[in-house]
């Protein structure tokens, strides 16, 4: 252990393929993606677009998290995953550390704001204030921080689909600057009518199960969930008698600066994020064991990402897959959920399958992994998160080589 390392001690996930990490891995193993007709979200588009909902109502999530059932589903999901993450890290009493919670989300308590707004538009003195009091993104994080007893550093990041990757990056910096001992970092987002309708206006929602990196892909499926990793600095890692999952060795954030929503044809932002993250990790293309793709399934995103990967890795593209083919695109949560999958891949030697793949993209020389496997030699995994506003971020998780 060398001074400034950042260690991943654990993680937690709740999403459309499982209410915890173990259930998610079982779904990958059994090739069971989570797309279905919406059950919990109420929308006129119910029968048009499949979604990947967490298979639990708010009362169940509230019971699991210890939070009241009337608050935003985004906070409930966050609390469930953050709790699992903390427990998996086996650090004991949370109050014994300087703990940071850095959580991302894209629309805060919008699920409740939507209900409020329908009444408010009829009469601006109407609508229940308790439904709008946690509208802000930061409120969601604070509901969870307060429930877990975290107050040393509580922060929220929102950079669209790359939000949680940036939360993890900021968390790592807080550790390296000795502002905290432990960080729980990742993100959360519940499905809302606001985002479903928003993505529908962009005409990038697939009416069937999405097909990332497939030549016939026509769009993405929205999902929901939350995912967090627990990171500690060297000083804490050395004190603990715990075997960490892996190290966070590289991270970078770059901007595509091409268009507000579309990715540039050559994926310059994607390329820069990946290249700089690998440079920080001190590894070359030949050292990469697996890439967890951003892979939303839209025509534009996958082509840009694929082009950037080809430019960076040439003919030696490592195994790649988009777990969004199982979880859907969970927006502000996706970087957190996928970071847990990436860190676990290093720990357990997992390669995750890309579901619904059957046609090679003609612009690319590589195709994704389509079956689940374990016991692989996985030394370095990259997790990509790219989004609106040109925000592109990549994380690299590595095995401790002794």
């Amino acid at each position: 252990m060398s001074g400034n390392d950042v260690w991943v001690l654990g993680g937690g996930v709740i999403c459309g393929i499982g209410n915890n990490v173990r259930e998610c891995i079982t779904s990958f193993r059994q090739m069971k993606p989570g797309m279905a007709t919406m059950q919990y979200l109420s929308s006129t588009h119910r029968d048009s677009f499949p979604v990947v909902e967490v298979k639990a109502d708010n009362a169940t999530l509230a019971a699991k998290s210890g939070l009241p059932a009337h608050i935003s589903r985004t906070a409930l999901l966050s609390a469930v995953a953050a709790k699992e993450a903390w427990e998996s890290a086996q650090l004991g009493n949370i109050r014994e550390y300087r703990v940071g919670l850095v959580s991302a989300n894209t629309v805060g308590g919008m699920d409740k704001t939507e209900d409020f707004f329908a009444e408010y538009l009829q009469d601006n003195q109407s609508g229940r204030l308790r439904d709008v009091v946690n509208h802000e993104c930061g409120s969601i994080t604070e509901l969870v921080a307060d429930a877990l007893g975290i107050r040393h550093h509580v922060s929220t990041i929102s950079t669209a689909c790359s939000s949680s990757a940036n939360a993890i990056m900021y968390g790592a910096r807080l550790l390296r600057n000795n502002l905290v001992d432990v960080v729980i970092a990742g993100g959360t987002d519940a499905l809302t009518r606001f985002t479903l309708n928003g993505f529908n206006t962009l005409m990038i929602l697939d009416q069937q199960a999405c097909r990332p990196f497939d030549d016939t892909r026509t769009g993405l499926n929205l999902g929901e969930g939350a995912g967090y990793i627990v990171m500690v600095s060297d000083a804490i890692a050395q004190k603990m008698d715990i075997k960490p999952w892996c190290k966070l060795t590289g991270y970078a954030n770059a901007n595509d600066a091409y268009h507000q929503t579309a990715s540039s044809p050559d994926g310059i932002g994607n390329y820069l994020a990946m290249q700089q993250a690998m440079e920080m990790a001190g590894i070359g293309p030949e050292d990469m064991s697996y890439i967890n793709l951003h892979g939303t399934g839209t025509l534009n995103n996958d082509l840009s990402e694929g082009t950037a990967i080809q430019r960076l890795f040439g003919n030696a593209v490592p195994p790649v897959s988009s777990t969004k083919s199982f979880t859907g695109h969970t927006l502000g949560a996706s970087g957190g959920i996928e970071a847990v999958f990436a860190a676990l891949a290093v720990k357990e030697g997992y390669l995750y399958p890309n579901a619904q793949f059957s046609h090679q993209m003609k612009e690319l020389s590589f195709s994704p992994v389509t079956t689940f496997s374990e016991g692989n030699v996985i030394n370095n995994v990259m997790s990509n998160s790219f989004g609106f506003g040109g925000n592109c971020s990549s994380l690299v998780f590595s095995k401790e080589i002794s």
């Binding site: 206006t201 962009l202 005409m203 268009h259 507000q260 929503t261 579309a262």
Partner: protein, 87 residues
């Protein structure tokens, strides 16, 4: 046709909030995207809704946008063809 094109120009200016562009500044055959009027892919999506709202035409595949929305004349042709088909 001339009337339809004039109406379309006014609708485009309004829907896309083209400040400092007057409907009559838009030529019938002026390219709407890139070097012409300078519209982009977000505008194309706005125009799809415009056709739906004002002309009850649904375009399911956004990939068809560039062809239909090349100029005011191509949009007018598309609307006319669609209306005749439905007669």
């Amino acid at each position: 046709m001339e009337n339809l094109m004039a109406t379309l120009k006014a609708q485009i200016v309004e829907q896309l909030n083209l400040q400092e562009v007057k409907p009559e500044d838009i030529g019938d055959d002026m390219p709407l995207f890139k070097d012409g009027l300078g519209l982009d892919s977000i505008d194309a999506l706005e125009l799809i809704v415009l056709l739906q709202q004002h002309y009850q035409i649904r375009i399911a595949n956004p990939e068809k946008g560039p062809e239909i929305f090349h100029s005011v004349r191509t949009i007018a042709d598309f609307i006319t063809a669609h209306q005749q088909q439905n007669k």
